[in-house]
């Protein structure tokens, strides 16, 4: 608490106070009359043109090519790298029609989006670059069970030459 000694100081402080308030008002007034400098995005309206950065981590996807083939060998490196148990890989035995040998292949690549922290460790761990982070971000659903996804397409196969 300051002690006011004389009338000059009293009015001086009032003048200083009004001046400081006007300094702040000058800034807000400037932006009021320069609407072009406003930086907000009109999000739901600009969905068509909105492009996320390439490295943005939205969700894990298994890359499929046009022949419905993926690069996942079912080695479970991503499952081990994941800190939260987000990825579950269920393997099956498959018999190669040409050689007749039984090989390991993925049956289901289960991804629990609700547990994912988007740390990117699974992507780094993958030895065959089978998974990547997609740039989607609208993940809200009405039912929690919809957040558990099977990433491999039905009927998809391992791309030839990956296992070697």
């Amino acid at each position: 608490m300051r002690i006011i000694k004389n009338i000059g100081q009293y009015f001086g402080e009032i003048f200083h106070a009004i001046k400081s308030l006007l300094t702040g008002m000058k800034i807000t007034g400037y932006y009021f009359f320069h609407p072009k400098e406003i930086v907000t995005q009109q999000y739901p309206e600009n969905r068509d043109t909105l492009k996320m950065f390439d490295r943005f981590r939205g969700e894990v996807v298994l890359i499929h090519d046009s022949n419905n083939e993926h690069r996942c060998t079912g080695c479970s490196a991503c499952e081990l790298a994941c800190p939260n148990g987000t990825i579950e890989i269920i393997n099956k035995k498959e018999i190669d029609p040409e050689t007749g040998k039984s090989t390991k292949a993925i049956d289901q690549f289960v991804y629990h989006l609700s547990m994912c922290t988007f740390c990117n460790l699974c992507i780094i761990a993958c030895p065959t670059d089978a998974i990547k982070m997609a740039q989607t971000f609208e993940h809200s659903v009405f039912d929690r069970s919809k957040l558990t996804k099977v990433l491999n397409n039905p009927g998809s196969k391992l791309m030839p030459g990956i296992r070697e």
Partner: protein, 373 residues
């Protein structure tokens, strides 16, 4: 009438009130039990644990690569610096030689994180004192930094860009250009911050001389970071124990001796200029080289104890790892700055009014997940 009333007479009676856990100005779930005499605060007792997630315990089952992403969730406003602290500790244990490029990039992003954190703090500080304008201005400028992070690191807040041994991937080709654009932009916008809040008469009346804490108290409570430096305690880890690329840049350690809310405010305002000065020196001199040193897929630290300190936007963060030569640590302890800073709140607030407590907490820059972990 009854005897009780005659005894009380004009005397006042102390009473308790709960501030929080759901109070907008505590910035999270922090409960303060206030002992009040009218409007005057007699005692402040913080009650914590509302968002305790046992991060230290979870670290004991995770591998060293996985620990890093948990520290994002402690002090989420300086997450890159937290990541760096863990990585530096692990690298110290492995005695890894880190490429110069990694050190410089880490320092630049750390300083950008500090800038973003202080911008958000400045905006929220204005909001706590009743000025919504500041909040929007602070977030407007912070948005540009989060864009830089999103492009290079892949996330805006919980970036997880560090891995033990280096970085997750190299910087984006646009990184240098964007950072320079931001610096040029923000150098013009920082004076706006000063005009809006620093000289404002309402702001000055509510912060000058309020929430005083002496240098002795600051040292005994272990208050670090800008809050400690506002009382004249030279505690900048970047100066005292330089890590990463801080040994090759020139910057001032901001010290104010007043010890009140205004001094703590001014420390952060000046730190923003120093952060920009540091980035200015480094952004054109990123050395060529690898973005990651070679590490094994399964990291096992040699048995022993390792401790590393870094300067986050809030103060000194210490990471203490005890290893027994397994793939996850035996024990991890984080010395978080928010916890120690909060302990000084009682000393600061004694004799002040409730409205001043909000300003004090704001200048301490509390992040509740950092306190609870």
């Amino acid at each position: 009438m009854s005897t009780e009333q005659t005894v009380l007479g004009n005397e006042t009676q102390e009473y308790f009130i709960n501030m929080g856990p759901q109070h907008p100005s505590t910035h999270g779930v922090l409960r303060l039990l206030l002992t009040l005499d009218g409007e005057i605060i007699r005692k402040v007792e913080p009650h914590m644990g509302y968002i305790h997630r046992s991060i230290e315990k979870m670290c004991e089952k995770d591998s060293y690569q996985q620990i890093v992403h948990l520290t994002d969730r402690m002090d989420y406003l300086s997450c890159h610096i937290n990541n760096e602290a863990v990585c530096l500790t692990v690298e110290m244990g492995l005695q890894l030689e880190i490429p110069e490029r990694v050190k410089v990039i880490r320092t630049i992003i750390s300083e950008l994180t500090r800038l973003a954190s202080h911008q958000l703090w400045w905006g929220v500080m204005g909001m706590d004192l009743g000025a919504i304008t500041g909040f929007l201005y602070g977030f407007r400028d912070r948005e540009l930094i989060t864009d830089i992070f999103e492009e290079t690191c892949g996330a805006r807040l919980t970036m997880n860009y560090n891995v033990p041994g280096g970085l997750m991937f190299d910087i984006h080709p646009n990184f240098q250009k964007r950072t320079k654009e931001f610096l040029a932009y923000f150098k013009k916008k920082l004076p706006e911050y000063e005009e809006l809040l620093t000289g404002n008469v309402i702001f000055e009346e509510r912060t000058k001389g309020i929430g005083y804490i002496s240098k002795e108290d600051v040292i005994s409570y272990g208050v670090t970071g800008p809050s400690g430096r506002g009382s004249g305690f030279a505690c900048d880890i970047r100066k005292l124990h330089p890590y990463s690329a801080y040994d090759r840049v020139e910057f001032k350690e901001i010290l104010y001796n007043e010890g009140d809310s205004y001094a703590r405010y001014m420390v952060r305002m000046d730190e923003m200029k120093e952060s920009m000065h540091i980035i200015d020196q480094l952004i054109d001199n990123i050395p060529e080289g690898d973005y990651k040193a070679k590490t094994k897929a399964v990291i096992k630290l040699p048995a022993g104890e390792y401790y590393q300190r870094v300067e986050t936007a809030r103060g000194e963060l210490g990471v203490y790892i005890i290893s027994d030569n397994k793939k996850s640590p035996y024990r991890v302890k984080f010395r978080s700055p928010g916890f120690s800073n909060l302990s000084a709140l009682d000393t600061m607030a004694k004799g002040c009014k409730i409205a001043d407590l909000v300003a004090m907490m704001s200048t301490l820059d509390l992040v509740i997940p950092d306190i609870d972990r």
